[in-house]
Amino acid sequence: MTPNDNIKKKLKDFIREVFLVGDEDQELSDGDSFMQTGIIDSTGVLELASFIEREFAFTIEDDEMTPQNLDSISNLVAFISKKIG
């Protein structure tokens, strides 16, 4: 398993546990927008940011709270690997 695969697995596990409980039929592809698919709302964004900071031990700056960084599994993996890489 590559480091990026590891990041992806942790993110997917978190999203399934926190945002998709009771909605197991919801398919989550790596490129799907969390906001457009309605998986995560504005409170969910805070929960996601908090999880990433705790799990990967870095601080997300306010100007990094963007869809380009946080709005899909693919974007998150790219952002996190850049921050911890």
Binding site: M35, G38, S42, T43, V45, A49, M65, T66, P67
Partner: protein, 332 residues
């Protein structure tokens, strides 16, 4: 459709006449109530609703209820009284601070704030804001807590979810207690409660479910804020209310509605939202609004996110039994 800078202009005289007719029918015929109570804060929306109710029902069948608390702006009550005097409407003042203290509103909120800023105490003011640069940057609507000490020095930090949820839950006690108070005064007189939310608040979810969202009628919930300004002028709402910057009147450091929730000034937000609703392409909307297409696209996306993300606020309680069938019995 043709979209231009006048697209949200209304015939304020005609609209106010139509709204008054509707209010009269809703209150007296549909709800079978003798009048209306309106919570008045000295803000634009509640002022317009009070004026419309007075026009519709007669001033002697309307009561304006002022419900200040510790964090309210001192101007609010004075402006609300000036408004009621202008329209000849009776007022009631209910200071809700003791009840909020009894419910632990301030204590619970302060404990949550101390999770972010341990030094916070009653000498500080506080507010919550979201990014207000939504045209300049694609951004999520995350929440920042700002505290201000007696010397006016401020500190800001993005809120962790637990603290954010606690602060909001505690602060929402204010709106829910106001709703309870309004219903007391309504039921005591066999009146209806007239809600004061506009379209911006109603559709983007800037209200508290069963708080300020709890009412018997919502006469301006279909109108954009910029149209409420036009009605206010037509109805003769005092100038100092029309010129006042809209605030939440909930957080002690004076959070404007733009920085607390909308992230954009009302004119541009309402115009771009109207364009989006009516299928105006972003390049066309951008041209009319002197923006880049990317800026218009960001505004469309931000507004749509708020509408989608707050859908649950507008849902009635979910029932298992179908309302259409009206049959009892099987759950599945």
């Amino acid at each position: 459709m043709k979209f231009n800078k006048e697209s949200l202009k209304i015939d304020a005289r005609l609209v106010s006449e139509q709204l008054a007719e509707t209010i009269l029918k809703q209150v007296r015929v549909t709800l079978k109530k003798a009048g209306a109570v309106v919570g008045i804060s000295g803000g634009l929306d509640s002022s317009v609703v009070l004026a419309l109710c007075a026009k519709a029902l007669g001033p002697d069948r309307v009561v304006g209820v002022m419900m200040p608390e510790t964090d309210s702006s001192p101007d609010s009550q004075q402006l609300a009284q000036a408004l009621a005097d202008r329209f000849g409407v009776q007022t009631v003042v209910e200071n809700i601070t003791p009840a909020l203290e009894g419910m632990g509103c301030y204590r619970r909120r302060d404990e949550a704030i101390r999770e972010v800023f341990p030094e916070y105490d009653h000498t500080y003011k506080n507010k919550i804001t979201i990014p207000t640069n939504i045209l300049e940057k694609e951004t999520f609507n995350f929440f920042t807590l700002t505290i201000e000490n007696a010397a006016g020095e401020t500190k800001s930090k993005r809120m962790p979810p637990s603290a954010y949820l606690k602060v909001v839950a505690a602060s929402n006690l204010k709106q829910r207690l106001r709703m309870t108070t309004l219903y007391y005064h309504a039921e005591e007189r066999n009146y209806a409660v007239a809600g004061t939310g506009n379209k911006d608040e109603h559709c983007q979810g800037f209200f508290v479910k069963y708080g300020d969202g709890g009412a018997d009628l919502k006469p301006i919930a279909h109108l954009f804020k910029v149209q409420i300004y036009q009605l206010a002028e037509e109805l003769g709402v005092p100038d100092e209310i029309i010129k006042r910057v809209p605030t939440t009147d909930t957080y002690s450091a004076g959070s404007t509605q733009e920085e607390f929730f909308f992230g954009l000034d009302f004119y541009r937000m309402d115009m771009l939202w109207y364009a989006m609703e009516n299928g105006v392409p972003t390049d066309e909307a951008a041209k009319v609004m002197n923006l880049s297409e990317q800026q218009a696209r960001r505004a469309y996306a931000n507004i749509q996110r708020k509408i989608d993300g707050t859908e649950y606020l507008r849902l009635p309680p979910l029932e298992v039994q179908s309302k259409q069938s009206g049959k009892s019995g099987k759950l599945m």
